[in-house]
């Protein structure tokens, strides 16, 4: 009844609003008929009312204001305009043309009417301002007659001899380094002619009408540049561009976390960005791309096996019970970000597996990516609603540009090799006989271009990565097609689709007695009781495959029929399918009758998203952009599994071959839907205030729980646009943001349920979920503030942010009283958590002399989490020594500690010691780029993670079973010599079997790893006539420093749960190997 009343009220409200709006529309349309008529064909937009009043305002802002007030699109490059050229114009009653005449007066700029926009461009050399009146293609500054403007435009059109064309070719490079800017867009302004630069930076524009034209080159992260040239019929005109990297790029458009899109200057929160044009190394997957590039973002690998996925955290953990993996969007389409399921038999021991999981992010071809935007917390993610508290990562793939086809190809060949991860007398923990130097190879090709209204980007790729272990490999095929269609200037369709087919074969590994690690690590104390290579190698008959098919498709329609108003609709579908199959064949040493399981798992995410905005000039200096929208996301996860055992004999079985078969099925669907409204107030284009909210409903909320409201407010202030600001001081933007977001409970968490269970062929029910009708999402509120600054002419940039997150009504799995039957825990909104920290991202060009240069950069982030309240619930364990305890990190590693580890005495034990957080509290990422003559570049990038603790299970599992272990070599020697009294307390605890306890293997997990060192060589510098090719040599993860108290294994190794682990612990896995890659990139 309640929901019915709500529906009716909402319906009536909606109808009333629509009626009101329609009535207003009709009235306004009638009264403003004259304004509308101006936009009709035959009537110049220059005749529209300017409605502009500016006083002593910088020229770029004056033009922005004119654009907003008049509704006429003005095309200009802010970076080319004189910033400190104040203009004044009492143009309230004047036309656009008249206003432009006044505000461009005395500058070296002119304006041209081209279609439905007005181009502001530099006056060609040789024509001083006063001479412009004489030019047939230039409008008069003082034209007072409307007809003059029309006539001038007509002259402009007529002056182009359309029957004769020429060609423009050239090269786009980075101004400072002379590095080719592959993918930069070059176009003839005011026309549909354009092209993308190839990997050598070269471009060619064909069929350019002869006569004077303006050529524009632009690329994300760089200031656009324009050159005016005269094209001769049948001739080739050469134009080269040197783009200057924008230090702050305040006018760059970002879309993640904003309603529709916004310029950076308007945004009150920090936005991390990875621009692929600035990534030198060959990127093997998205995990690899994200690693150590954005402050506050950590990617922790799970193992060194093929296909292993990485755990991603933005500003640590915001949830105890739910996933902390951020939401991921590709071109506006939500995709699955949690890992694929682990390939484990649905019946039998849950350790029989490769014990690792793949990441859905790695189904995306990194070669297709143009850029990545990262927003890190609730202050920025409010508009994503209930599921976005852990942050949002948005990936943008490449698009085509009108012009000739540009082909790009890349070939990668590499070797991967495991680095030592144990003491020197057993550096590979006895795995040596099975390790190999593995071959990796990748091939990618793409073509992009466009003609008329249609643009395309099509790509394909193939990766074949061997692992360093037997039976360990990944073969991946990737296809993408991105198509854009603009039938009119107000309508644009974009359809992006990708398909990935990935087959992963893994070694049985992890904590798995049927696997390689446990048996090799333990040698003659293994489950065979035999350490010979031949015996242990029997586990390699165990086949583990994961066949992944992935389709991501999304269509976006931009429809902007009314000036100042935008509409964007996106419908997307992500289908991740995995067939997990594992076979222990008939005759397998540890299960002689054989076992087979096949799981068909799929996760479908359907996204429907609408965002609209309306720009409104309120006063001379004040404007407003009102945005609204809605989003619905449906996620359905299905798993159908079969299990068979006891095969009649050898051969390749199917599930039906087993004497005993079992079947399993799970289906879970969750729907989330919400609305948002936001308003941005802009004052003098340097003060910005944004306020908004989102209302959400979710199918997993309890039935007594209503819709959720998440508010946001943010502000930014571009101080450096003030008149008092001196140019040498650089640029400075201050910003602050507050917002709320949430995390929804699971599909069944709110309901009291019973599990249907079989009991020997008979149906049975077992207690499932206790249920909580009041269950709702946890709510994370975040305040962040900071600044973006560029100093010393942009040679130094600093992005500083301080954040404070507080998660209230946190979902805790509250343990129930066992004697009340439901021994399981129940999610309740009882807790309170916080995260605090800072993020600094700084770059500096240390020197830049002719062909030499050195750039350095540093990302620093801290994260300090704390449980503020348990809401009366007792402290509880998340496993792996991870605890939720008031006043301690989320989670804190708690266990016993030996207080006199190095003393030659019996251990003194402190009970319930709080070691520290499980997630790193400090991440430091230095990087450097050395530019050498010939555009040869050497880059290096490292990452230091520190302040966290992990339990290392591999040593415990072996030592508690009396396995001779390399960390105890000294202890064994002393024991053999009868010198037990010379053992340290730590040795007595770890190396004498009867004393072994898990607690003694909690390590500080601090490490520094050299993530990459890359040498990029334009082949043209070495081999003549190969200037469209670049050779890149790269080494990855080849050197590591670990804390001295971390004696064995690797800090970047995970446990059986892989990237999905709630508390990281180290299990019986190999670390990520070092990878050495040679990559050749060619465009043509």
């Amino acid at each position: 009844m309640r929901s019915l009343v709500g529906w009716m009220v909402a319906s009536l409200l909606g109808l009333a609003m629509v009626s009101f709006a329609l009535a207003q529309d009709v009235a306004a349309a009638a009264q403003e008929a004259t304004v509308e008529s101006a936009a009709r064909p035959g009537i110049s937009i220059l005749e529209l009312p300017a409605r502009l009043v500016v006083d002593n305002t910088p020229l770029p802002r004056a033009l922005n204001a004119l654009q907003k007030r008049s509704g006429v699109a003005l095309a200009f490059s802010p970076s080319l305009l004189p910033k400190h050229h104040p203009v004044s114009c009492e143009c309230e009653q004047l036309t656009v043309a008249q206003a432009l005449d006044r505000i461009l007066s005395g500058t070296a700029f002119r304006y041209l009417e081209l279609g439905r926009q007005v181009l502001i461009e530099p006056i060609p050399h040789g024509r001083r301002a006063g001479a412009m009146l004489a030019s047939a293609t230039v409008l008069p500054f003082e034209a007072s007659e409307e007809s003059a403007a029309r006539a001038a435009a007509a002259v402009l059109r007529e002056s182009a001899p359309v029957s004769l064309t020429g060609t423009i070719s050239g090269r786009v490079v980075e101004a400072r380094t002379q590095r080719p800017l592959s993918g930069s867009q070059v176009s003839i302004t005011g026309t549909g002619i354009g092209a993308l630069a190839g990997s050598d930076g070269r471009f060619q524009l064909q069929n350019v009408p002869s006569g004077p034209v303006t050529v524009r080159a632009q690329m994300i992260g760089f200031a656009a540049a324009e050159r005016s040239v005269t094209v001769t019929a049948g001739g080739i005109t050469t134009v080269d561009f040197q783009l200057v990297e924008q230090a702050l790029a305040l006018d760059e458009v970002v879309v993640t976390g904003t309603a529709g899109q916004a310029r950076r200057r308007e945004v009150g929160n920090t936005i991390g960005q990875i621009n692929m044009a600035q990534v030198a190394q060959p990127v093997v997957n998205v995990d690899n791309l994200l690693q150590a590039r954005v402050a506050g973002l950590s990617v922790m690998r799970s193992s060194g096996m093929a296909g292993s996925g990485g755990q991603i955290r933005l500003r640590g953990n915001v949830s105890v019970a739910m996933s902390n993996q951020p939401l991921v969007y590709v071109d506006g389409v939500r995709i699955r970000s949690d890992g694929y399921p682990r390939n484990v038999s649905p019946a039998g021991h849950q350790g029989r597996s490769n014990n690792d999981v793949a990441s859905p992010l790695n189904d995306i071809n990194p070669a297709d990516i143009e850029r990545v935007e990262v927003i890190k917390g609730a202050a920025a993610t409010t508009l994503y609603g209930t599921e976005a508290a852990a942050g949002v990562i948005q990936i943008f793939t490449k698009r085509g540009a009108t012009g000739a086809a540009v082909w790009s190809a890349q070939v990668d060949q590499g070797l991967s090799k495991l680095r030592p991860f144990a003491p020197s007398d057993a550096p590979f923990l006895y795995l040596d006989p099975w390790l190999k130097t593995a071959h990796t190879q990748g091939y990618a090709i793409s073509v992009s271009g466009g003609s008329g209204d249609l643009q395309y980007f099509v790509s394909g790729g193939y990766d074949d990565n061997e692992g360093v272990l037997p039976n360990d490999w990944e073969k991946k095929y990737l296809l993408r097609g991105n198509f854009g269609f603009s039938p009119s200037s107000t309508l644009r369709f974009q359809w992006n689709s990708s398909y990935t087919n990935n087959t992963i074969s893994n070694t049985p590994a992890g904590n798995n007695s049927h696997g390689l690690m446990l048996n090799a690590f333990r040698r003659d104390a293994n489950f065979f009781g035999d350490g010979s290579v031949e015996t242990i190698s029997q586990v390699l008959d165990y086949e583990i495959y994961n066949y992944i098919d992935r389709v991501i498709t999304g269509a976006t329609v931009d429809f902007n029929p009314i000036p100042r108003q935008t509409n964007r609709v996106t419908v997307g579908y992500d289908l991740a399918m995995s067939q997990m199959r594992q076979l222990r064949p008939f005759g397998f040493a540890l299960a002689p009758e054989g076992i087979l399981s096949t799981i068909r798992w799929s996760n479908a995410t359907l996204t429907a998203d609408y965002a609209g905005s309306y720009d409104l000039g309120l006063t001379r200096d004040l404007s407003s952009r009102f945005s609204w929208g809605g989003q619905a996301v449906s996620t359905e996860e299905i798993s159908v599994a079969g299990y068979a055992e006891d095969f009649p004999g050898p051969g390749v079985p199917t599930l039906t071959s087993g004497a005993r078969t079992l079947s399993f099925e799970d289906r879970i669907r969750v729907v989330n839907a919400g609305l948002f409204f936001q308003n941005l107030l802009s004052f003098r284009d340097r003060y910005f205030l944004t306020a908004g909210f989102r209302i959400d409903g979710n199918s997993a909320f309890g039935e007594d729980f209503g819709l959720q409201l998440y508010p946001k407010v943010s502000a930014s202030y571009v101080v450096s646009d003030e008149s008092f600001w001196r140019e040498p001081w650089g640029q400075l933007k201050l910003r602050a943001a507050y917002g709320q977001s949430g995390r929804a409970p699971g599909a069944f968490d709110a309901v009291r349920t019973w599990n249907p269970l079989g009991w020997g062929g008979q149906p049975a029910f077992g207690p499932g979920n206790v249920g909580n009708a009041n269950l709702g999402p946890e709510r994370t509120a975040e305040l962040e503030f900071g600044f973006d600054a560029a100093l010393l002419d942009g040679r130094v940039t600093v992005d500083f942010t301080r954040y404070h997150q507080k998660t209230s009504e946190a979902l805790f799995a509250v343990r129930q009283i066992p004697s009340l039957g439901f021994g399981s825990s129940q999610l309740e909104n009882v807790g309170e958590l916080e995260n605090r920290g800072i993020e600094i991202s700084a770059t500096a060009a240390l020197f830049d002399v002719q062909n030499w240069g050195l750039d350095v950069g540093l990302n620093v982030s801290t994260n300090h989490s704390k449980v503020l309240s348990l809401g009366g619930a007792p402290p509880f364990s998340l496993g792996s020594f991870g605890w939720i305890v008031e006043g301690h990190p989320v989670p804190v590693i708690r266990g016993r500690r030996i207080t006199n580890p190095q003393e030659k005495a019996d251990p003194i034990v402190e009970n319930e010691h709080f070691y520290g957080p499980n997630q790193p509290s400090r991440i430091i990422g230095p990087r450097a780029t050395l530019r050498l003559p010939g555009n040869v570049m050497l880059t290096a990038r490292g990452e230091h993670q520190a302040g966290h603790y992990v339990y290392e299970a591999g040593s415990f599992n072996s030592l508690v079973r009396g396995v001779v272990w390399p960390t105890c070599t000294n202890a064994y020697r002393l024991l053999e010599a009868g010198q037990e009294d010379q053992l340290t307390a730590l040795e007595r605890s770890r190396c004498i079997t009867a004393n072994v306890a898990q607690d003694w293997f909690i390590y500080p997990a601090d490490f520094f790893r050299l993530r990459e060192a890359t040498l990029s060589v334009p082949v043209g510098a070495l081999v003549p006539r190969t200037d469209r090719a670049t050779l890149v040599l790269s080494a990855r993860d080849f050197w590591t420093w670990k804390n001295a108290d971390f004696p064995i294994m690797d800090p970047e190794v995970g446990s059986n749960e892989g990237m999905n682990a709630q508390v990281r612990q180290i299990g019986e896995h190999i670390p990520p190997p070092a990878v050495f890659t040679a990559s050749l990139r060619v465009s043509f």
């Binding site: 709006a21 007695s513 609408y610 809605g630 879970i668 609305l675 349920t753």
Partner: protein
Amino acid sequence: MDVWVRKSVARSLSVPLAAAGVLGLGVAACDLSVTNPGPVQDDFLNNPAAHAAVVNGMGRDLGQALNYISLTTASVTREVHPAGSQGAFGILLPMQQGLLPFDHSQTSSHWNMAQRARWVSEAGIRRLHEALGPAAFEASPLVAQAYLWAGYANRLLGENMCQAVIDGGPAEPHAVYFERADSNFTRAAALAQALGLGTVRTAALAGRASTRAYLGAWSAAGSDAAAVPTDFVYEIPYFVIDTDQYNRVYWSSANQPFRAHTTWNTVYASYYRVTEDPRTAWDENPDVPVGDANVLDLGRVPWYFQLKHADRESPINLSSGREMRLIEAEALLRDGQWQQAMQVVNALRTSVGMAPWDAADLTEAWTRLKRERGIELWLEGRRLGDLRRWQEGGTPGALHPLEEPGGASNLHADRALCFPIPLSERETNPNIPING
């Protein structure tokens, strides 16, 4: 505000308001309720068609609790000796030493499972009563079965837990479980009698006999036992559908690849070697002579694998006529009639081809009975309760040294004879002090 601005504002607002209205309609019409298959909502269990599954669930939970407790207590009482693994199908270090610490996760999990079995059956009976109404309730064979499961669930708790806690209440003497078991068995027997359910009735009487023995009501126990034929067996089944339902005593020592326990260094190893009593059968494998890991400070120990539970689906006895005979024998002992008691014991032995025991006096007869009960109920999860009640009752007769702490048994001096109220109950139940 001039006319133009007002018009502009009106027009500007109209578009977003229209869109907001449409969005509002859309969301209001959007049905966010989702029905997911799989787990069943609580109300659905009131449907009579679901009651068979409700009652089967009681049996399943009982079986799971007994499964785990059987393996753990087998180590604590040295029905078996630990031989290796401590992981998923192994025996953890404290339990290898005979300890059951209240703050150990394993102690909590065993308590939780046993409590769940009790609550599910008792709450299920209340549900059936409410759903069926009094008349149909009394006429339902499912209700009789439910009372039987409730009886055995309470007996399991009474035999193995140090104290009773009922439905979040305070700690009480463990006899409370037996009293509840007695009541449930009585109702089961009565309903089964009325409905002509012979097996259920006999099982209820057998369960009540063992319960009353624990309560010290030996006369009543003997009367119930007498109604149970010697060849009667009532067992809980196990299945391969999930690992919790594998017979853990078998699977944890099945070389798949765990060889977590052995009969080596137990009284049953030497006994079987000499007598080949089929009730305590074990074997060894020259290809795999030792357990799968070092144990305590013993290194690798010989792996003698039990044969009583032959596969994952081997059932475990809940009651048997042979147990009833031993109850009768014990009742006779307590009455001082040790010769008659020995006759009963020896009748059981000769029925399986074993030589009769000799006993010279009451004390020796107690020793024999204690040994015989261990042999007869080997690996059925009953030994811990027996050892406790004999210790608490100060009964005469000796246990074998390999069953006692210290010496060659490798049991800790503080070997436990029951599970204390664990941390899981203490930290959640406001009626139980954390360190009480």
